[in-house]
Amino acid sequence: MDWGLIRDILAWALFLIGGAAVVVGALGIVRFPDFYTRLHGAGVTDTAGAELMIFAMMLQAPNWLVVAKLGFIAIFLGLTSPVATHAIAHAAWMVGFKPMEGPDLRYDGDRS
């Protein structure tokens, strides 16, 4: 087995897992019940989906310069995507948007 074949197999595995994570994250966004829980679904796309695909691209890179650039992208994605998620969550919280709570997914004060 040569290094090129191992690289291809590993990259394909990472691309497939990353792609699956993006789909699962999207499913989470659609299926979870309220705004705050949906943010968690988006978190799967942000972290596992994006980062695994970047690692796969690193394995397919033609030279070390491209690997370094992809490394920068991975690090900056890891630094900025939680900031964006927090900005959305904090904005919702500041305007007084209450989350569902507990296993029965009730809004606070909701007695049905």
Partner: protein
Amino acid sequence: MGRILALIVVLTATWLLLSGYFDKPLLLAFGVGSVALATWLAVRAGMADGDGLPGHIFPGIFGYMLWITVEVGKANLIVARQALAVEPKLSPKLFLVPNPPRTSVGKVIFGNSITLTPGTVTVDLREDEILVHGLTEDLSDVAGLRDMGERVARIERGS
């Protein structure tokens, strides 16, 4: 002065890595010019302090990045299982976690780490506490998040 030197070294290394030019004098001269301009702007904007150039988090931050990657992976599996479950067993709640880091850089690292981990999102940063929204009962793990905060505090103290 040490910080400015470190900034110049980091900017030069970044420029070389991103451009990939090592033997074209004209382009290298432009690179030197842009590093000088960026350094001057950073100093002028007052960004060359402990917040803009957090030298004290190195080298501890590298070990922490490896650790947080593993944690994020584990949390991803839990959230993915809920997203795919026929009947998701969610139990969302808001809870407070102590915020041990003292510097603003440490607080940002901790708040970002909580949000980066799927299943927990930082909703509000307060003076000594962080308001966190958790997706399920086992993801709303206050003891685990407290441990994460202690790790960040250890990094910023440099131990």
